[in-house]
């Protein structure tokens, strides 16, 4: 077995992509001429963040990575003074983001940070619910601010109000400011995102570990059940669809829904009857904010929301109607979940003989339950609602740039990074003010074409799961519970360096949800593929998104490339009782649709039978 992964500086360049580095900020590059930095980079373990990024980044989409690079890191290192942790460092290789957690080695420094952490984090834990309420309020406020942003083409002539109201500023200047504000809002929402998340995870991990101390090998599924939120915002969009499905059946509209594949034609069809109108009104009401849910993770510009494509929620409603007609209620059985949660907790409590142990367990459970609503719900507000609106604002801006002759297509803007766009706006508004053609009108379309070619090559490249030197033991909590990067997983990855893809008969990941299942694999790389799923198949996906909910009523199990026991796929599958293996590293490239596979959600092993 190899002892270390490829040195990050030795990753071979892809032919024809030379110069790709300029697509991204310079601080994302592995160093070449700074000896000290280079040495540091070679000594770290960098793992591919496939949890968030199942594909390479177009230059603009890197914005969210930049956002959390700053936000997560600063809360650990400078705000809450987490004793042993600095931030998480980021690099980009052939369009793929690699990350590495930075620890504090000096015991004295750790010691000195303890009282600071206790005071600062303690304040948050003590006032958690109140702070969370305030968090929701200010985040919604920020989203409203975002929704109010309006990008307009530069006028031939400024409105006379500029003159008579003594504005003292013109549209060219405004556009630059508006763009800056938009970007700043994006960064701001990510500041909010991590305000409570690190602490939330720390509490949850503490609970997991405490439970494991008393009850070795306690299944993750059990732990999730113990803390599981009942009124979880992330389940709300799907429950809105279930409501609409039930309403459609009640109004006997199911055949009409069935006959129409697009929402536009359905709208026409239903608009002619009273019940149809009522249903459309209910549909419209559910859209804001609940259809601001991304069909992907929300991290990429092409992850369109239900509001962007109403055919998607419509298809989901139809799946729910099918379930209801088959006598299955797709609703979350809330009362049952509460009863089950209480029973499990009570029974575990009864097992304690030592009152101190019992108290420790109770405390850990209590704090985990307190933080859990935030840990689950923040996703809706930030990654789904805010991001969905944000991508569309960028499209509005892009239209202005297309009309200004700077780029060719609206969707071209993703091939420019945020600094490129700023410069491009500067160029455009100066040319507009001067009344001449802009300098960049030939430069940018050419550059964009080239970048598209580079991106295509990046997509064909399989990023190695890790680079650099693995630590002897992985103890960093986030790497383990979110990314599933454990000491054992690293060993498996190192072993797989010696094996060719075709020879693989077994994949190792983390146990996600209990149970053993055998079945045909269906590789799902994007949301559109979900329609291909046949009942009883095992879904093999890079990672999953909450908007995939209806799929989970169909499949027999799931395998993901990335993720730890707390990732979304694992949480959802536990709720649906589906055997799941997460974090296999390369499941979607090794397994092919139609392969017969057996997955063991208890051991984390996927066998390829044929």
């Amino acid at each position: 077995m190899a002892k270390q992964f490829l040195d990050p500086h030795d990753v071979p360049a892809i032919e024809g992509t030379e110069g790709w580095e300029r697509m991204y900020p310079y601080y994302y590059q592995f160093s070449t001429d700074d000896k000290e930095r280079k040495e540091y980079e070679s000594g770290q373990l960098w793992y591919y963040d496939g949890l968030h990024y199942p594909e390479p980044h177009t230059p603009f989409d890197l914005i969210w990575d930049e956002a959390w690079y700053l936000a997560l890191s600063q809360y650990n290192s400078r705000i809450f003074m987490v004793p042993p942790a600095k931030g998480i460092d980021h690099r980009i290789v052939n369009g793929h983001v690699y990350i590495t957690p930075i620890g504090i080695a000096d015991p004295k420094e750790i010691e000195a940070r303890i009282p600071l952490f206790m005071k600062r984090a303690g304040h948050y834990y003590e006032n958690w619910d109140k702070i969370y309420d305030g968090w929701v309020e200010k985040t919604i406020e920020l989203i409203e601010e975002l929704e109010a942003v309006e990008f307009k083409n530069l006028p031939e002539m400024e409105d006379e109000s500029v003159v008579f109201e003594h504005r003292g500023m013109g549209s060219g200047y405004d556009l630059g400011v508006q763009y800056d504000e938009l970007i700043n809002m994006g960064f701001k929402v990510w500041q909010y995102h991590f305000e409570m998340l690190n602490l939330g995870y720390a509490a949850y991990v503490t609970f997991i570990n405490t439970a494991n101390q008393f009850f070795p090998d306690i299944p993750m599924a059990t732990l999730t059940k113990m803390v599981s939120g009942i009124d979880v915002v992330m389940y709300r969009p799907d429950s809105e669809l279930i409501k609409l499905a039930k309403m459609a059946l009640e109004f006997k509209l199911e055949s009409k829904l069935d006959a129409q594949t697009s929402f536009a034609s359905l709208q026409q069809e239903l608009g002619t009857s009273d019940n149809g109108k009522k249903w459309l009104a209910a549909f419209e009401e559910a859209r804001y904010p609940w259809f601001h849910i991304s069909t992907g993770t929300g991290w990429f510009h092409h992850n369109r929301s239900w509001n962007d494509d109403l055919d998607v929620p419509l298809a989901n409603i139809k799946m729910h109607i099918e379930s209801l007609q088959a006598g299955k209620d797709p609703s979350r059985p809330t009362a049952k979940l509460i009863a089950e949660r209480d029973r499990i907790v009570d029974e575990y409590m009864e097992l304690f003989q030592n009152p101190d142990d019992k108290k420790a367990f109770q405390e850990a459970l209590g704090i985990a339950r307190k933080v859990f609503p935030y840990v689950e719900n923040h996703l809706f507000y930030v990654e789904h609602w805010f991001h969905s609106v944000f991508w569309n604002k960028m499209r509005d801006l892009s239209r202005v740039l297309v009309d200004g002759g700077m780029i060719k297509e609206v969707e071209d803007i993703w091939y420019l990074n945020r600094a490129d766009i700023k410069v491009l706006i500067d160029d455009m508004v100066r040319a507009w003010a001067t009344g001449v053609v802009p300098a960049g009108r030939n430069k940018w379309p050419k550059e964009i074409e080239w970048r598209k070619g580079v991106m295509a090559k990046f997509r064909e490249w399989t990023p190695p799961p890790a680079l650099g030197v693995p630590p002897e033991v992985v103890t960093e909590p986030f790497s383990i519970v979110l990314w599933g990067v454990t000491t054992n997983v690293l060993k498996k990855w190192l072993t797989s360096l010696d094996t060719a893809d075709g020879d693989i008969t077994e994949l190792h990941g983390s146990p996600g949800s209990s149970g053993i299942v055998e079945g045909k694999a269906r590789v799902i790389k994007k949301v559109a593929d979900l329609a291909l799923l046949q009942a009883g198949e095992i879904m093999v996906a890079p990672t999953t998104s909450p908007s995939w909910a209806p799929a989970f009523t169909k499949i027999a199990g799931a395998v993901t490339d990335v993720g730890g026991p707390m990732c979304h796929a694992a949480i959802v599958c536990r709720e649906y009782g589906l055997p799941t293996v997460v974090g296999t590293g390369n499941g979607t490239s090794v397994i092919k649709t139609g392969d017969l596979i057996r997955l063991d959600g208890d051991s984390g092993i996927v066998e390829l039978l044929k």
Binding site: V82, P83, P84, A85, I110, I114, F117, M118, A121, G122, Y125, A202, A203, V205, T206, I208, N209, T210, N212, F214, F215, P216, D217, I218, P219, A221, T222, K225, R343, I344, E347, Y348, L351, Q353, N354, D356, D357, K359, A360, E363, A364, G366, I367, V473, T475, E476, P477, I480, V481, T486, T487, N488, S514, G515, D602, S603
Partner: protein, 355 residues
Amino acid sequence: MDNLEKKLTLWYNELKGENFPLVGKKNANLGEMLKADIPISPGFAITIHANDIFMQESGIKVELEQLIANQSKETTPENIVHLSEFAMAAIEKATMPEALEKHILRDYHRLCEICGVEDLPVAVRSSGAVSMPGQMETYLNIRGDRDLSDYIKKCWASSYCIEALTYRVNRDIGVLFNIGVGIPKMVNSKTSGVIFTNNPINGDPSKISIDASYGLGEAVVSGLVTPDSYLIDKITLDPVKIIRGSKEIECVYRTGSSDIVEKEVDEARRKVNSLSPEELRHLCITSKKIEKYYGKAYDIEFGIDADLKFPDNVIILQVRPESVWNKKKAENKKSEPTDAMSMILKQLINGVKFS
């Protein structure tokens, strides 16, 4: 309840622990297990009263009383040997009173019917109202009316064996002693094994451990095979770990006899689990009941009966307290912080140590 005392037989489900003066302890305990909803092999008890009727109607009681009266007050070993030889021979030779035999056979036939097996193999188990461990006989794999009748008499006779008599005389229990007899169906285990209501490796009380293999329990208990090993979450009943054993051999009853033979397990059966998911689940529920009923971790022997349908095929053969961890529990661990903030801090500093 009064009329119980006049009964010749009582089904296990008519009994509870306090009825031991009527049927003996072993029988009464089986009744009690049923009350606790613990599935045992179906069967019935022949009461102590029935033994008394037999002794009276056959005239053996009077003969014995005379023999005792004629003997010297001081009970000598020779006297005991003499008494034993006489009583055992007389009981085995005597004819079972017709009404009593009819009654017993009627119940035996009913048991055959319940199990859907003609000439059902049963055990004939002695059950005294006073504990006399191992003093009296139990006969296995008895089938058919004639054998049953004969072995019941043998069982009665066994309460006059030298060991039992000596035991009673030494303790002033009395020479004349009627016992109960238990007639449970022989468990024809297709799979059997041992359960601990904890994880015996680390004492974790939130787990149930089950070792199971094909055939009769001997294969697992005596370590003839590597059994399937299941670690189950006690509360959710989800499997935590399943290690499939090689299970090359199984023990089965020799047909028409009570001894046991070893047989090879074919390749296909070795490669699948010896317990079905339903059986596994049912065993866990049953184990939890046993633990709850007796108030501590228990060690349980079970069999899955090939002649019965699920869930009636899950049979508990024997239960006893788990010995290691029940004792260790009292020891205290060193004190750890028990407030949330300190726990979180400790967690962050020590990191996560999952495999």
